[in-house]
């Protein structure tokens, strides 16, 4: 379970999050919707621990434990996974090498035994088959020369391998055509589990046609302005965000 309590974050002089509260239960898929520049990506970075995104007040708890004093890799080992808006290329580092290094770093941190290559290969190949990731892609350096859709699929493949307890999807739909979006959404849906929560950050309703949220939260001016069920997303599609940013400076 993810609990965000009165979270305040500034970047430089600018206050981005101004006392944000949010709870996402185990097994719940929560959509965060909101206009551009409202701090949605900042929220994903604060939870995952990116340098420069530190909270001045409030707390972020995962399964009852505060994340804010942990390094990014410690948070990852605790089960935080961020699917990036723009997954990064790492030239020269084989995809398999990266997957093994990441998975085993997390296992070590949790005091679990490291996975040997044959077992890892088995798991990766199974996940790749489900997501339509070609074997040839696994032999290439991580994300190097991959198309936008391939990169997103690789991120979802990593998520299924790392089995996080919280998956954050940051504008996963951006840059995807409708076919790629469907594949990625199917991948996420297959990972839905009663012990896993998702935070789906998006600008458009479109993604939510494929990943059906349990709850929808409207974020504006650094806070959750309104929460509701899936019908809220449809309402936003009609009316836009103007009601929430009306009195903004």
């Amino acid at each position: 379970m993810l609990e965000i309590k009165n979270l305040r974050v500034s970047i430089g002089e600018r206050q981005i999050l101004e006392g944000l509260n949010l709870t996402v239960h185990d097994g719940e898929v929560a959509a965060i919707m909101g206009p551009n520049g409202t701090g949605k990506s900042t929220l994903s970075y604060v939870i995952s621990g990116r340098a420069g995104y530190e909270a001045s007040e409030g707390d972020v708890l995962l399964n009852g434990q505060s994340l804010l004093d942990l390094e990014p890799w410690e948070r990852a080992a605790k089960g935080v996974f961020l699917a990036f808006q723009y997954p990064v290329e790492i030239p020269g580092v084989g995809t398999m090498t990266f997957l093994k290094a990441a998975l085993n770093a997390q296992r070590r941190a949790r005091g679990e035994e490291e996975l040997q290559t044959p077992e890892l290969m088995k798991r990766v190949n199974a996940a790749a088959a489900k997501l339509g990731v070609a074997k040839e892609m696994l032999r290439r350096p991580l994300n190097s020369g991959f198309s936008g859709g391939e990169k997103k699929r690789m991120d979802i493949l990593q998520m299924s391998l790392l089995e996080p307890s919280l998956g954050i999807l940051d504008e996963t739909d951006s840059g995807l055509d409708i076919d790629a979006l469907r594949v990625v959404a199917d991948g996420v849906n297959a990972l839905r589990d009663k012990n896993r929560s998702f935070l789906v950050i998006t600008h458009y309703q479109r993604l939510l046609d494929y990943i059906k949220p349990d709850t929808v939260h409207v974020m504006a001016k650094g806070r959750i302005q309104r929460s509701g069920g899936p019908e809220l997303a449809l309402e936003l599609e009609e009316s836009g965000y103007k009601d929430y940013i009306g009195e903004a400076a």
């Binding site: 340098a51 390094e71 990064v88 790492i90 020269g92 990266f98 990441a102 790392l162």
Partner: protein, 489 residues
């Protein structure tokens, strides 16, 4: 016997010198006094029982050196070196040249251990012959342990300290010494010619494929001792040899000068692979201490279809000034240079290669990966040239620089000259930074800051690591991670 006569001559020469120059030459002394003079050059030569021709060769170099100036074109800065404040000869405390390992001072063996010599060399030094790597260990200036000699001898390969080769194979040494790097070549090479202490000599006879990798560890241990290694490798027609050189040095406060010369000669259809892993003391984070590494390495592809390949992983030294080069003299000769140069702290690296195309259809390939972190400066300087007769010469150069942090520098200085219209030279260069995005991405997946950096850097240098012999590649990979420790966060 000639050798005996030479010894007698040498001893007489010492006495004459001692008298003539008022300099008491104590043949038992472990060290020559500080400073450089004709007497010191004669002393070194006498210590090694060298024949007259070699003493004269050294003296000619010394006289030439007096007329030369230090090169100033490299992008490095250091306080002036007082050449009169250095020792030019030091022997280890134990008896030089023990007949067996039992005679080796256990203190020396312990030092090897502390320096982290990989297990396989330790085993060999301890007499456990499990791996076929021959080690000619140079401790300060005198070789103290040589192994696998017999097996090499069976193949007809000569692998010994160059001081010994002067006595046992004077005709080979005399023919090839200084034939690639002439005595007059440059300030540091000329200095080396005058005062070189010892080094390795390799001769692989016609048609012989050397049965094992040859390996030498150089150490610098005596305080204030300039080290002047001299290495000469000759691959006769149709032969093959792979030579590995690895270096470490204990921590010292004063800067230590190191000016080695390595000469490679490949005759018709011969191939030499020369790999180096260098991790000498780079100085502390303020730039205090550390080795000055001013090295001249050159290979002469003298024969048709000859092939010389340099691979280097450079992580150490306060200052590196080093350009392993190939003279592609024979038709169809091939030269290669694969380099990883890592600099951190206050290190300064000015390194690269020269590919001199003289023969027809000669080919060369340069892959250089520079990584700068901390406040270091890392320069690639490379020359590719085609002579008038170098019909069909081809070169491909790829030169990538990676920056870690925002206080270091990377510089690329290619010199390309072609006097033959049929020559084809290609040059690619990139400079990039390890991005916050890459680091955060890898850390978000569970890798610590240092693991993430090491992974990204190892990806960057992968093309070059693949050129190293397997066991060396693993060490090199670790070494790169170690040298970048503390460069992030």
């Amino acid at each position: 016997m000639a050798a005996l006569k030479e010894t007698v001559d040498a001893v007489e020469a010492i006495d004459v010198d001692a008298y003539k120059y008022g300099f008491v030459t104590d043949i038992e002394s472990e060290k020559a006094p500080k400073g450089l003079s004709e007497e010191i050059v004669r002393f070194i030569s006498a210590k090694k029982d060298e024949p007259d021709w070699l003493t004269d060769w050294r003296l000619a170099a010394y006289r030439r050196w007096l007329t030369m100036d230090e090169p100033r074109w490299a992008r490095v800065e250091h306080p002036p070196i007082d050449y009169q404040d250095l020792y030019y000869y030091a022997a280890p405390k134990s008896t030089p040249g023990p007949a067996s390992l039992e005679e080796v001072d256990p203190e020396l063996l312990r030092t090897y251990e502390k320096l982290g010599i990989p297990l396989r060399e330790q085993e060999i030094l301890a007499g456990v012959e499990t791996r076929k790597v021959a080690v000619d260990a140079v401790f300060d200036s005198v070789s103290v342990a040589t192994t696998f000699k017999e097996e090499l001898a069976k193949a007809g390969v000569i692998f010994c300290p160059i001081s010994e080769a002067v006595r046992t194979h004077p005709e080979l040494v005399r023919k090839y010494l200084g034939s690639v790097v002439p005595v007059t070549d440059n300030f540091f090479a000329t200095l080396n010619s005058a005062v070189y202490s010892d080094g390795s000599f390799v001769y692989v006879p016609k048609g012989v494929r050397c049965p094992m990798e040859l390996s030498t560890y150089f150490r610098i241990n005596e305080k204030n001792t300039g080290q002047f290694e001299r290495t000469l490798i000759i691959a006769d027609e149709g032969s093959y040899v792979s030579y590995l050189e690895g270096c470490t040095a204990p921590k010292r406060d004063e800067n230590q000068l190191h000016a080695a010369v390595v000469e490679l000669v490949a005759l018709d259809d011969a191939e030499i692979k020369y790999s180096t892993v260098q991790n000498w003391y780079p100085g502390d984070s303020d730039g205090k201490g550390g080795i000055y590494n001013f090295v001249t390495k050159r290979g002469d592809c003298r024969g048709r279809n000859s092939h010389i390949s340099w691979t280097q992983v450079e992580t150490g030294s306060a200052i590196t000034w080093k350009y392993p080069s190939c003279i592609l003299r024979g038709d169809n000769a091939q030269g290669e240079f694969y380099s990883i140069a890592v600099s951190n702290g206050r290190q300064q690296v000015d390194s690269g290669t020269k590919m001199i195309h003289l023969g027809r259809n000669t080919r060369s390939r340069i892959i250089s990966k520079g990584i700068s972190a901390g406040r270091s400066q890392n320069t690639y300087r490379g020359q590719v040239s085609a002579h008038r007769k170098a019909e069909g010469a081809r070169n491909f150069t790829n030169c990538d620089s990676l920056l870690i942090g925002d206080r270091c520098g990377a510089h690329t200085v290619p010199y390309i000259e072609s006097k033959n219209p049929s020559a084809q030279f290609e040059h690619e260069a990139t400079t990039s930074k390890i991005s916050e995005d890459q680091l955060f991405y890898a850390m978000q997946r569970g890798l610590s800051a240092e693991e993430a950096t090491a992974l990204i850097v190892n990806g960057f240098v992968r093309d070059v690591l693949q050129q190293l012999p397997m066991e060396f590649a693993v060490e090199a990979q670790k070494l790169i991670s170690i040298s970048l420790e503390g460069s992030v966060g």
